[in-house]
């Protein structure tokens, strides 16, 4: 029997086209192949944060999201797994990336498998994935897959590890993408689809609130 999972992709790239989005798409494609191999259908939702940049600032100031931002947030909070990719700016994820996760409910990602990716000008920034992005998602109680994928500008032109004769030879980047995608798909398919709790549908009974005092 075919099952399905909802996968959200958040890309915080600023340019169009963006190498951050390119990495996000590569990760999503690789994950898609892994899900297909496991007979799992994927409902893929891509959130391009650039489109919500003004609404994110407005949300910080006014306290509520615009309709389109609310849809973007829901795409993430109702997903079974998340692929999150940011450019590395000044030793960490971009402010836009952080702002998005600042306005998502702090417990909305609890138990959600997350595959991380980051892009930057040189390889020197790659550990930002480990010292900045991973702790952010750990704080949110997400389950971050062990392999996080960094793509420096040079990675996009790197030669593969093969004999140089074919285009299919895997490079370091493509091997990391495949490995991260495999770990991510294993985690997502190994878990039941997430059920988002709706506090408005099932409130805590008042007797319980009184008793908790």
């Amino acid at each position: 029997m075919t099952t399905s999972r909802r996968i959200a992709v958040v890309s915080a790239g600023l340019r169009q086209p963006s190498s951050t989005r390119l990495l996000a798409d590569r990760l999503a494609d690789a994950a898609g192949r892994q899900f297909t191999a496991r007979d799992v259908d994927v409902d893929l939702r891509v959130v391009e944060l650039r489109e919500h940049a003004h609404d994110l600032t407005n949300h910080l100031l006014s306290g509520f999201p615009s309709t389109s931002l609310e849809r973007a947030i829901e795409a993430v909070t109702t997903a079974d797994g998340l692929i999150a990719v940011s450019p590395i700016f000044t030793a960490s994820y971009s402010g836009l990336f952080k702002t998005f996760f600042d306005v998502v409910d702090a417990d909305a990602l609890d138990g959600m498998p997350v595959l991380l990716g980051a892009t930057g000008g040189t390889e020197r920034h790659s550990l930002a994935l480990e010292h900045a992005m991973r702790p952010l998602f750990t704080y949110l109680h997400a389950i971050v897959v062990p392999t996080a994928v960094y793509a420096a500008t040079s990675d996009w032109g790197a030669e593969g590890a093969g004999d140089g004769a074919g285009a299919t030879a895997p490079t370091g980047l493509t091997r990391r993408i495949e490995r991260g995608a495999r770990e991510f798909a294993e985690l997502v398919t190994g878990r039941e689809p997430r059920q988002a709790a709706d506090p408005f549908a099932v409130p805590t009974p008042f007797e319980q609130l009184l008793a908790e005092n």
């Binding site: 100031l61 006014s62 309709t67 408005f200 008042f206 609130l209 908790e212 005092n213």
Partner: protein
């Protein structure tokens, strides 16, 4: 249905003149605003409570009592009373006293408050916000209903043999609303007690308001207070009006653009689309607010925020005049159309007394420390002697 205004008591610079009112001016303006509200036929004046600049909204019962002495009819309320950081014993005493002084023209809206430092300033922890609201209100509820209370809780010193004085006027505690923007627990609390629920939706989209009100209505019925559509619901609102809507927008925009809370954020147009803020002609305000019941069902109280963002007092008074004379009379008629017979009005002191089977004096007469005699003993002896 009741219509009124509520104020948060902010001291804000008028961005068009650069002038900031003094605290004294703002406090006096609050009184003028409340008196104007009564003069133009509004039903409710509610003041907020804050304990930090730039607000003048501390000591709400002082303000309300002073207004009560200068008005005849308008209901005095709060938006909100900080049930988390205020001692429930003081709330019980202060508002029962206000009830007596104003002959019952009092109700209250409980709120948690969202100014972080206020909690530690009053010896509390914001992380206990919900628990404080639950425990403190449970005590307040008893203090108004039981003459002698023995009580012990987490957040305040225990009470043994405590009588809160004065006892509520005519034996009927003030009606209580619970205000919350985001917390389902508070809608649940209002439903549990069969109290009113007020959603201050002025900064929030209607979809969210609807969700909170629906939860309250459903749970009100669950707790046996009556059908969901008879639950007591109030909403916030925010308007600025001129005969010509373009004039209203032109005049209000400089205030909107730099206003506390939403200034420098969404555009006026975006904010008007997403929240109940309506800047335009009186007819546009009527159309917008007459449609509120389509979202939340027939409701009981509509409060408007009129004196914010640094608007000068003369403009605020003029706006209240337009609200009271051109908008509310029409809204009263509109809201009555198709309103089923069984939908109750918001409880008032008179209706609560009637529901309790009439007024009764509930004075608790103390025992004399030396003789052990009470006023009831004396009264009985006097009656005996007279025979």
């Amino acid at each position: 249905m009741q219509f009124g205004i509520f104020t948060v008591g902010d001291v804000t610079t008028d961005p068009t003149t650069g002038r900031t009112p003094t605290e004294h001016e703002r406090i006096k303006a609050t009184v003028a605003i409340a008196k104007k509200a009564e003069e133009v036929g509004l039903d409710v004046f509610a003041t907020g409570e804050h304990h930090n600049p730039p607000f003048i909204a501390s000591a709400p019962t002082t303000t309300l009592a002073y207004i009560g002495a200068q008005t005849e009819r308008i209901i005095l309320s709060t938006a909100t009373t900080l049930i988390t950081t205020t001692d429930p014993v003081l709330i019980a005493e202060n508002y029962a006293k206000l009830q007596h002084l104003t002959d019952g023209r009092v109700d209250l809206m409980m709120g948690r408050g969202n100014t972080g430092p206020v909690y530690p300033w009053f010896g509390k922890d914001i992380r206990d916000g919900i628990a404080l609201a639950v425990e403190n209100y449970a005590l307040l509820h008893r203090l108004w209903r039981e003459d002698v209370v023995d009580w012990q809780g987490r957040f305040r010193t225990p009470l043994q043999g405590f009588t809160s004085t004065p006892r509520p006027l005519d034996g009927v505690p003030p009606f209580v609303w619970h205000g919350s923007i985001r917390s389902p627990e508070i809608a649940e609390q209002a439903a549990y007690y069969g109290d009113g629920f007020f959603h201050n939706n002025i900064f929030w989209p209607m979809s969210h308001t609807k969700q909170m009100v629906n939860l309250y209505r459903r749970r009100f019925e669950h707790y046996g207070h009556g059908p969901a559509d008879t639950a007591i619901v109030g909403l916030g609102g925010q308007v600025f009006m001129r005969p010509n809507s373009q004039d209203a927008i032109r005049e209000f925009r400089p205030y909107f653009d730099v206003a506390p809370v939403y200034g420098h954020g969404p555009s006026l147009e975006e904010f008007m689309e997403q929240t109940p803020l309506t800047v335009g002609s009186p007819q546009q305000v009527i159309d917008r607010y007459a449609a509120m019941r389509d979202h939340v069902g027939h409701y009981q109280r509509q409060l408007f925020l009129m004196d914010h963002a640094g608007l000068p007092l003369d403009v605020v008074l003029e706006q209240i005049e337009i609200l009271g004379t051109e908008v509310v009379p029409v809204l009263r008629r509109e809201m009555a159309i198709g309103r089923p017979e069984h939908i109750p009005d918001a409880p008032t002191h008179a209706s609560l007394v009637a529901a309790a089977g009439g007024a009764r004096d509930t004075t608790v007469h103390a025992e004399d420390d030396v003789t052990g005699r009470t006023a009831e003993n004396a009264a009985a002896e006097n009656a005996e002697a007279a025979r």
